[in-house]
Symmetry: C2
Subunit: 450 residues, 2 copies
């Protein structure tokens, strides 16, 4: 396939067509464009142009476009649509996407919008989904699924399924429930393709079926689905009744968002921002950690002030402060990142004690290798063995301490129920800077006998 590319020329052409109200040309131009690409176009248009285009196109397409838009663009466009128009869009969407949009609408118009959805079952499903926490399996799931009763025969099943399948974009599995609606098994479409039509479902269904509870965290659902290579998983309530289904495309989004968040945390960005957000949004996301860095820097300055006398006699020690601080920061980030990744992927085994011992040995090994190089180089460069020795011994000590802090902090936060990813960024760098400098000057004072 030739990937779609939104060029400046294409954008200008579309804007021109909108300004000239050339509706037929617009419609035929957009017909060939995938909804995800239409969303890219809309994100770039002015609000009134975007609204015009959304109103012009068929809601079968624009409903999907709406789900793909940036949140602020969507909010602006929905603000320009009538309750009737919004209801028309919701009617075309799967219940999970529709519920996500309803949750963003101003409170005062929700009831009116819902009342205008003509398919009452669809409306009821959307309202049901509103009750679930966004950050749970219930908040991810859709009501669209294919469900059969165990007392049906394959014949009834196929007949009923044809009807149900009309509303389901992708049939993954056929879920089997008992009279109480409790999930008891599944049928694969393949089984159905190859099975005889006369057998009762009770005799042919597979009684093992993976499912998640409505209250499960999205990250855990993602872990289960990717570990077990599932493309869809049924969601059950507290007593085991089938209430919805989560599909892998939603999970791909969860995985991407989780990875983005961890990455941003490691980089010291405290909110979910993108390069194209406003300068104010970016400042709000970046300033808190920079402020923490500033406090840390002032702490380091205060510590160094306490060693002023030593510095007067051995000014050279000062030249190596940035080196020591940088190494402490780097080691801390490395070791915490490995732990955070282990926690995210759930593949950390063994006790905290063993892990700290391993990290100490590892840091010691790295530290000794680096310190020997530093010792030889500094001795030759500066000509003073005691100074070179003091700096090198400090380096080893600082690396070991930084490694231990970097290992312990995320494990501790995780145990306390705090997202350990927070520990990889400026937090660990800053605290390791301070500890590193303190250790450095202590050891230097001791070795040089000042």
């Amino acid at each position: 396939m030739t990937p779609f590319k939104l060029t400046d020329e294409l954008l200008a052409e579309i804007q021109q067509l909108i300004e000239n109200r050339q509706n037929d040309s617009l419609r035929s131009l957009m017909e060939e464009v995938h909804y995800a690409d239409v969303a890219e176009i809309i994100d770039e248009l002015h609000e009134d142009q975007a609204t015009y285009l959304i109103k012009l196109l068929d809601s079968e397409k624009t409903s999907d476009v709406l789900t793909e838009l940036d949140e602020d663009v969507r909010e602006a466009i929905l603000g320009n649509l009538s309750s009737q128009e919004i209801a028309g869009e919701l009617a075309e969407l799967d219940t999970d996407d529709a519920a996500d949009i309803v949750a963003e609408l101003p409170k005062e118009i929700v009831q009116e919008v819902i009342s205008k959805i003509s398919d009452r079952e669809h409306a009821r499903d959307i309202v049901d989904l509103l009750r679930y926490d966004e950050n749970s399996a219930g908040g991810l799931m859709a009501k669209e699924l294919v469900k059969v009763y165990d007392h049906w025969t394959v014949l009834t099943c196929v007949k009923e399924m044809r009807q149900q399948a009309e509303n389901v974009t992708r049939v993954h599995s056929i879920y089997v429930v008992n009279d109480q609606g409790i999930l008891i098994g599944r049928l694969s479409l393949k089984d159905l393709l190859t099975a005889s039509t006369r057998s009762p479902i009770r005799d042919i269904y597979i009684s093992h079926v993976d499912s998640v509870n409505v209250n499960e965290k999205p990250e855990e659902v993602a872990r289960i689905m990717s570990k077990y290579d599932l493309e869809a998983i049924p969601v059950v309530d507290e007593i085991g009744r089938l209430v919805g289904r989560i599909t892998i495309d939603d999970i791909v989004d969860v995985i991407r968002e989780e990875a983005d968040r961890d990455y941003q945390m490691a980089a010291g960005i405290s909110q979910d921002v993108e390069a194209d957000d406003s300068i104010w949004d970016l400042t709000r996301a970046r300033l808190p950690w920079l402020f923490l860095g500033l406090i840390g820097g002032l702490g380091a300055a205060a510590i160094m002030g306490g060693f002023e006398e030593m510095i007067a006699r051995h000014a050279i020690l000062f030249f190596f402060t940035p080196l020591i601080a940088a190494m402490a920061g780097n080691v801390g980030v490395q070791s915490s990142a490995i732990i955070v990744q282990g926690l995210v992927n759930d593949d950390l085994k063994g006790s905290v004690g063993n892990r700290l011992i391993k990290e100490m040995l590892l840091a010691l090994l790295n530290g000794v290798i680096l310190a020997v190089g530093l010792l030889v180089f500094t001795w030759i460069w500066k000509g003073s063995f005691p100074t070179a020795l003091a700096i090198s011994i400090s380096l080893i000590a600082v690396i070991v301490v930084a490694g231990v802090i970097g290992t312990f902090t995320p494990l501790f936060l995780h145990k306390r129920g705090i997202d350990p990813a927070i520990a990889t960024g400026p937090f660990i760098t800053t605290s390791n800077d301070i500890f590193g400098i303190l250790i450095y000057f202590w050891i230097a004072r001791f070795v040089l006998g000042i």
Copy 2:
């Protein structure tokens, strides 16, 4: 579902059963355990125990277990199996997973193993897949798919499909090809469920079908599939012939691995390691960037040596070196991380020039806010306005330069075809440390008139 949890007790029980050769108990214990969980167990066993368990269990299960094992564990176990036994495992796997395993086998046994796969078509498909670069769509795809010719009728199609479906774990789409094998469209299973059996395929297929070229990069395939919410995508060769299919579960792995790699790069870890790898592996992954940090630190020391005279008179300036270096590093990482993420998610718009101007304004805003705080605090603390002013002005300059370097470097690397993620870790921190310190002392000298 109750998630599987590998406890020490369970592990001990399994090891006991293996030692006592209680085969029936082992088999029945393992029957209920998902292959992904069996792999977790095997990863923890000694090599001879693991081999024993693999040989004991049915290859229908163990083949899937093998694909989930850590690479070194798999290598060890395969080394203990005969060519016949390995062929038996490969026979049970989908072609993509089988080809991945064959690619890991020692060269000298590959031919023998392949010759012992009894299903010759399966063997041929595996050999075909070996030709593709691991880092391409061809290296990801499987040969299992459901393909129909446009000159068939729905009746022929359903009959043929039943047979083809036997070999395909999950039927997503039915691909339609012409006489030359060129992909021309698709049929959805749902269409088939609801369509009449008499129409010819030519009249009912959907002529629009997304596909990727065999040479496409996995990251690009992942981007396309997640942008367009696809669960499977057909792969075509240079002249458009249908040669394979990629499913979303493989893409989930690509996305996870890509995110892990970017995260590790940002944290200064240069190879794909896990917390449970050996100390040597971890050292190899961590030492290169630490060494870079060491070089950078020595550079900083050399720079500071050049300002020795100034330092003698204004020792206080030295106290703020770690603060300046840390801020430069933090700002650099923040701005580069946002750019790298924008590049990965392909949502950067506008020119490089505009982006640099925006980052400069942003850094200026952050810098001024932080500098005002620093100025007031340092003035009160140290009592010298000129010194406080020199430090604060330097901070602004350093933050702006760090932001520009952090923005420019990943954009530059990306343009040169180098993975920009490399620019987020110690690389940017180290270079910003050096630039930051240099700028700091220059400005201090200028402001203080030394």
